[in-house]
């Protein structure tokens, strides 16, 4: 466990220091959500209806922002070679890096979401339902993103390719995340149904993501 915790703390430390990507995602999230009311206009009922969708869309795009550097920076400075020759299993290494990425980029989004919810006329109950879908859904975005980040590791500007690979895979997460949030606010559907599917999507991506990403890394490095 020691190699993995060392890697976790190193990645988190790098993310919060100069040049790290920790605050980039949450700033992007803030900008998108803050601009939406200006674009849509002061129709409170409309804002309330599209609020969860705007927040989820912004969170999805924000979580992509720092993703292309996740393995690429380690590849460029030779760290990935040493990680591959190390004794820790690559699947667990990838999962540790994913966890560090989630803690530094997605967790701030979860914290910011209820405050930004007020911009979109969401009341307290709606905001707490939304936060719950964020807590459960964002790990799926990170761990699906791991696969794309591993595939694009050797490309110098892999950001766009990454988005093309990752976004289609995240569509189910977006659909059920927004559906659960809407159900918590108004919807005729009960909150439990889409929320359970969201949980299943996250568990599946937690199980598959590290193995797929590790396999992609092994191929790419050769």
């Amino acid at each position: 466990m020691k190699p993995l915790s060392a890697l976790l703390f190193r990645d988190m430390r790098i993310a919060v220091r100069v040049g790290g990507g920790a605050l980039m995602g949450v700033l992007f999230f803030l900008v998108v959500v803050a601009l939406t009311p200006f674009a849509v206009g002061p129709d409170l009922a409309l804002l309330k209806r599209i609020g969860p969708a705007i927040l989820w869309l912004a969170a999805l795009l924000a979580s992509l922002l720092a993703l292309d550097r996740l393995f690429a920076s380690d590849h460029e400075d030779g760290s990935l070679d040493l990680i591959l020759t190390g004794r820790a299993p690559l699947e667990l290494v990838v999962a540790a890096k994913g966890l560090a990425h989630w803690l530094t980029t997605a967790l701030p989004l979860v914290v910011a979401a209820p405050f930004l919810g007020f911009f979109l006329n969401l009341d307290g109950a709606a905001a707490s339902g939304l936060v719950l879908t964020f807590v459960v859904g964002t790990p799926a975005l990170t761990f699906i993103g791991l696969i794309g980040a591993a595939i694009a590791v050797t490309l110098r500007r892999g950001g766009l390719l990454l988005a093309v690979i990752v976004l289609p895979l995240t569509v189910p997460v977006l659909i059920f995340g927004v559906a659960a949030a809407n159900a918590a606010i108004a919807g005729p559907v009960s909150f439990g149904t889409p929320f359970t599917v969201l949980c299943a999507l996250t568990l599946a991506s937690l199980a598959i993501g590290p193995f797929a990403a590790a396999a992609a890394l092994r191929l790419e490095i050769e």
């Binding site: 915790s5 040049g19 020759t85 004794r87 490095i221």
Partner: protein
């Protein structure tokens, strides 16, 4: 402990870089790998480090740890130094020692022995190329591994640091370690008490510049 290779072939981008390479290095011995640019010195070391699969041939270790692969018993010092600019010198070293295994000596001692002790708390972004290389050399002594794979270890090092590296290599050999080093110059191990084998990749290669001749044939 003895590292052996038989009939190793490396194919990169559809071209045979080298073929039929064989060597055998025992405990306390060093292998100096030489060859022109593109002869496959780095590729050979990366094959031993498990980062590239050989197209053919066999690589095996006698009397090593049976539970671990060759790469897991080796230190790999590549062209890049695996140094994160936003972490301090000490944080960089402490991460690699924690990741690679149990620290044999304290990080500060390892940094002192490569002359980086006084600047241990400086962010690594301010290091020169030679200092970054010394930081990655500190990794070799902070964690004990019997096999050292060094890819042109003396490039960017000044004369004093080259001598220091030679001292570290000598003590590694004296403790029964083995070294594979790709180099353009001598390793500076000197003296007859250390057995340094030479492996030149030039003879095992297809001739270097055969492309123009092929093009002419196609034209006629």
């Amino acid at each position: 402990m003895r590292l052996n290779a038989a009939e190793l072939t490396c194919r990169r981008g559809g071209r045979d870089v080298f073929s039929g390479v064989r060597f055998s290095v025992g405990a306390g011995q060093a292998l100096a790998i030489s060859g022109r640019n593109g002869a496959g010195k780095s590729s050979l070391l990366r094959i031993v480090a498990g980062l590239i699969r050989p197209a053919a041939g066999r690589l095996w270790l006698e009397a090593g740890e049976p539970e671990l692969s060759i790469a897991e018993q080796a230190h790999y010092l590549g062209h890049q130094d695996a140094v994160k600019p936003s972490l301090s010198v000490r944080e960089n070293l402490e991460f690699w020692t924690a990741f690679l295994g149990d620290a044999a000596i304290k990080a500060q001692l390892a940094l002192d022995s490569v002359g980086l002790g006084p600047i241990a708390s400086l962010p690594a972004a301010f290091l020169s190329a030679g200092q970054r290389r010394r930081l990655s050399i500190a990794r070799l002594i902070a964690v004990k591994r019997p096999i050292w794979l060094l890819d042109e270890p003396t490039s960017t090092l000044d004369v004093a640091a080259q001598q220091r590296l030679a001292e570290l290599m000598r003590s590694h050999l004296a403790e029964g370690g083995l070294i594979l080093a790709a180099t353009h110059s001598t390793l500076g191990l000197g003296g007859g008490q250390y057995s340094v084998h030479e492996l030149s990749l030039d003879q095992t290669n297809p001739p270097p510049f055969d492309l123009p001749a092929q093009r002419q044939e196609q034209r006629t």
